[in-house]
């Protein structure tokens, strides 16, 4: 390319120098690009390692010893039997008294297929894990596993097991890792999140509206604003201690449900945990709500005021609808944080071993992160497998929440 005015003296590089200058700028760009690419790759590697680690524990071979060989119970595989056949198996392999006790607890006719199946496993087969292997070993060292089983546990059966299963989701906690599930923890987490949203959403949005639209720019309000910004960074365990003092102890008559005729003994209930979580996520929600409200264009407000709308009408009809997608996104992010929090729950006293479903806001409860924490601290290797499975459940729950956020955001921004 020839320059237009070769003779004009210019501070800009000309001819060859210009070409070299462009090449050097391109090179700099390429270097940055490589750096950003490496950062992305690093992130991907971290994510893959996480997934690998979890999957490694969730699937794998198990050496199981049964009190009775399942093959001898029936001519068909157990899981193909219908309910009547299963009851027959149960009757034929249990002592009369024991069977009658079961029948008295809940008649067989009223039990579902899977309940009866579980009974057969529990009362007849009585499986015991002797050894478990990770997915990697199961995949690459099958021969070694076979050899080990043949020499060490000649009685045992080698089964490929997925530690996460429908029964894992639907059975409550148990001290036997083969039969333990996350039902109670899952329900506890869901209850807690629902109540947290119920309180945190209106309060958070309300405070954001007040601070953004009504609060005048004076010293007092600036102090409040600064405090909210700082509260967002306070470690969660401190909120746990705050929750312990306020909700579990001071407001015990309310949080234990005594005032509502549902006494659960003390304040270590779902509401207390939810309110603590609310404290924890409120600063994030308020800041995020303020940002969403601030992002509503001035022209829209002007148009509304110009037609004789009052401040509240402008907020209600224009500011909020347009800020809503952003508010939703922020809420879901805050909720995701609350779901994974463990420390405050430990402080406010979520139960670590509980088998009854939470039946309302004043119930005792446990939550997924507590369950995971609890299982990972057990020495037996089986617990590592179910802890990994519970992690999968937690991750799926988080992903679903994010999916809901995306759907809501699209739905609400499309209205425009």
């Amino acid at each position: 390319m020839t320059t237009l005015n070769e003779d004009v003296k210019s501070g800009l590089p000309q001819g060859e120098a210009s070409r070299r200058n462009i090449a050097s700028r391109r090179r700099k760009g390429a270097i940055w690009r490589t750096i950003f690419l490496s950062a992305t790759i690093f992130g991907l590697i971290a994510l893959s390692l996480l997934i690998y680690n979890v999957a490694n524990e969730v699937f794998g071979y198990v050496a199981i010893e049964y009190a009775v060989d399942p093959a001898t119970l029936s001519d068909k595989p157990l899981d193909e039997l219908n309910k009547d056949e299963l009851v027959a198996v149960l009757q034929g392999n249990m002592r009369k008294n024991a069977f009658r006790t079961l029948e008295n607890e809940k008649p067989m006719a009223n039990r579902s297929d899977s309940e009866v199946y579980d009974l057969v496993v529990e009362r007849v087969l009585k499986p015991q894990t002797l050894e478990t292997w990770t997915l990697r070993d199961s995949w690459f060292n099958k021969a070694a596993i076979d050899a080990q089983v043949a020499s060490d546990f000649p009685e045992a059966k080698l089964e490929f097991r997925s530690w996460i299963s429908t029964s894992f989701l639907t059975t409550p906690m148990s001290s036997d890792p083969l039969r333990a599930g996350v039902r109670t923890a899952l329900l506890g987490s869901l209850w807690m999140i629902a109540i947290t949203i119920l309180f945190a959403f209106p309060i958070g949005v309300g405070a954001a509206i007040y601070l953004e639209e009504y609060a005048t720019d004076n010293r007092f309000n600036r102090i409040i604003q600064t405090n909210i910004n700082n509260l967002a960074g306070v470690p969660s365990i401190i909120y746990g201690m705050l929750g312990l003092v306020i909700f579990v102890r001071t407001l015990e008559p309310i949080t234990s449900g005594r005032m509502f005729g549902a006494d659960s003994g003390n304040g270590r209930t779902i509401v207390a945990a939810s309110l603590t979580m609310m404290l924890l996520i409120l600063p994030i929600m308020i800041i995020n709500g303020q940002e969403a409200i601030r992002a509503v264009p001035l022209s829209l407000r002007q148009a509304s005021y110009g037609l004789g709308a009052t401040k509240w009408q402008t907020i209600w009809h224009h500011v909020l609808p347009n800020a809503l997608p952003g508010i939703f996104t922020g809420t879901i992010l805050a909720i995701s944080r609350a779901i994974g929090e463990t420390a405050p729950l430990i402080v406010v006293g979520a139960s670590t071993f509980i088998v009854t479903d939470p039946d309302g806001p004043f119930a005792k409860f446990t939550a997924l992160p507590i369950q995971i924490y609890n299982w990972t601290s057990r020495p037996q290797p089986e617990f590592a497998h179910i802890a990994a499975s519970a992690i999968v459940v937690l991750l799926v729950m988080l992903l679903s929440l994010n999916a809901i956020a995306v759907v809501l955001r699209n739905r609400f921004s499309k209205r425009g």
Binding site: Q302, S304, L307, G308, A309
Partner: protein
């Protein structure tokens, strides 16, 4: 008293000795201006001289700006708009505004028009509202363009159509005055002409004040013209005000002449 009555009979808005401040900065210095009923008044002047500020002071849109303060009087039907007992919400309904950038609500065309009446306590049936929407769109010369897509978003229209929608929206709350701040600056010449024709139409029922940077537009489409300029303290002042024909053909002030002939500005 008699003087005031003649004022308001002829003039819709009477500005007396108005100063406008943004914080400590005086943006408008001692402006007095009478805006004639059922006429189009153009506000012209170089950028930053305070035309928008004056316009916003006429319907108290300046209240929305932090730190903005108005001194002096703006009389509307003998009532000072800045008196303590006057509600800005009422003022803005009766003195509507159209902005520089078309700003339809992100709602359907129908709802854009219906919003104003609804929030102002409009009571009527669905079919009366349909009629109102049609009437406003016809007045804004937009009906034929949009009659088949009233349920579609106002944002899906072209820039010129959006601006006419904003005018129709302003008409729906039955204002007496319509203030327009450079309503054509984002539009092509054809849309601009359409809006000008529309203003001529609307003049019969409304009083219009328009800010424009387009000299031809002021000359073609206004009855009165006010020329503003900044003084040494950068505060806007009214230099000359009169019938558009006189001001453009026979300016009394040297500075006006320089500006309209393009010698500075």
């Amino acid at each position: 008293m008699t003087e005031k009555q003649t004022d308001t009979a002829q003039y819709t808005l009477v500005v007396r000795n108005m100063n406008v401040y943004y914080g400590a900065f005086r943006a408008i210095n001692n402006v007095s201006l009478n805006i004639e009923r059922n006429k189009i008044t153009a506000l012209i002047g170089p950028s930053g001289c305070g035309k928008s500020t004056v316009l916003r002071s006429l319907n108290r849109m300046n209240d929305l700006v932090n730190g903005a303060r108005v001194e002096g009087e703006v009389l509307f039907h003998e009532q000072n708009l800045y008196a303590n007992d006057v509600d800005a919400v009422e003022v803005r309904r009766r003195i509507g505004m159209v902005f520089q950038k078309p700003n339809p609500f992100p709602k359907s065309i129908y709802d854009n028009i219906a919003f104003g009446p609804r929030i102002n306590g409009w009571k009527g049936t669905k079919s009366e509202m349909d009629d109102l929407v049609e009437r406003c769109l016809r007045q804004a010369a937009l009906w034929d363009d949009v009659k088949d897509k009233l349920k579609e978003s106002g944002l899906a229209l072209s820039g010129g159509q959006q601006q006419r929608l904003c005018i129709a929206r302003a008409l729906a709350v039955e204002p007496e005055v319509i203030l327009m701040d450079e309503p054509c600056s984002a539009l092509d010449p054809i849309s601009t002409l359409k809006i000008e024709e529309l203003m001529m139409e609307l003049r019969q029922r409304y009083t219009i004040a328009i800010v424009t940077h387009n000299m031809q537009q002021a000359a073609r489409a206004s009855d009165y013209t006010a020329f503003f300029l900044m003084n040494d303290q950068r505060a806007g002042e009214l230099v000359e005000y009169g019938p558009t024909g006189d001001l453009f053909t026979n300016p009394k002030d040297k500075r006006t002449e320089d500006y309209i002939t393009g010698r500075f500005g």
